[in-house]
């Protein structure tokens, strides 16, 4: 499949979108924390808790679009890195879950899996690219 947009331009556009989405995410998170301090009723707390996830949906949509627009090698490296990151994150989450339940390790919030998968994805991508340089 030949992408319509040049992959280098698609990458730049994706990076701008991620930057914009993450700025919005920061604002949403700060707003959410601000209003939660005023102890709102339960339904409103749910809305506030979900607010910062909306910009993350924008990031995921941008990733999917970028993967569709980029060239075959870029797609291959990104998807391989994502597969490794998903596997590593699943394994680490499972391992820490057992440590938490059975060995009394401190509780870690579930949203850390999102941070973990992103870090491992980026790091694995850098390592995989070295194969092609």
């Amino acid at each position: 499949m030949t992408p319509k947009l040049n992959p280098d331009l698609a990458k730049k556009r994706h990076q701008y979108q991620v930057l914009a989405a993450m700025s919005l995410y920061t604002v949403a998170l700060l707003a959410c924390m601000h209003f939660l301090r005023q102890d709102p009723p339960a339904p409103l707390r749910v809305v506030l808790a979900l607010l910062p996830t909306l910009p993350v949906v924008w990031v995921m949509w941008s990733v999917i679009r970028f993967l569709g627009q980029t060239d075959e090698l870029q797609r291959r490296v990104h998807l391989e890195a994502l597969a490794i990151a998903a596997g590593a994150t699943a394994f680490l989450s499972l391992t820490y879950g057992f440590l938490e339940d059975f060995a009394g390790f401190p509780h870690v919030a579930a949203w850390w899996t999102f941070v973990l998968i992103d870090i491992v994805w980026a790091a694995t991508g850098c390592v995989l690219w070295r194969r092609y340089k």
């Binding site: 030949t2 280098d8 990458k11 075959e72």
Partner: protein, 72 residues
């Protein structure tokens, strides 16, 4: 797989970025192709050959010809 992309590009005095734009791939991919670290898909190999006015065999050569054993 061996290829002559670097030579063919140099003959036309194109930069990697120019070739990337003509083929609609990233510059990193051109670099990976020229250093023979990545073998392109058949559609991309045909696009490259067509761009240089060559056949696929004139641009790409296998590392060594392995005689067909008729399956294992």
């Amino acid at each position: 797989m061996k290829n002559r992309i670097h030579v063919l590009r140099a003959e036309r005095r194109w930069t990697q970025a120019e070739l990337a734009e003509r083929l609609n791939v990233s510059r990193q991919t051109i670099n990976a192709l020229e250093t023979e670290k990545y073998d392109p898909s058949l559609p991309l190999a045909f696009s490259i050959a067509r761009l240089f006015g060559k056949t696929v065999e004139e641009v790409f050569q296998p590392d060594e010809i392995v005689p067909s054993s008729g399956g294992n």
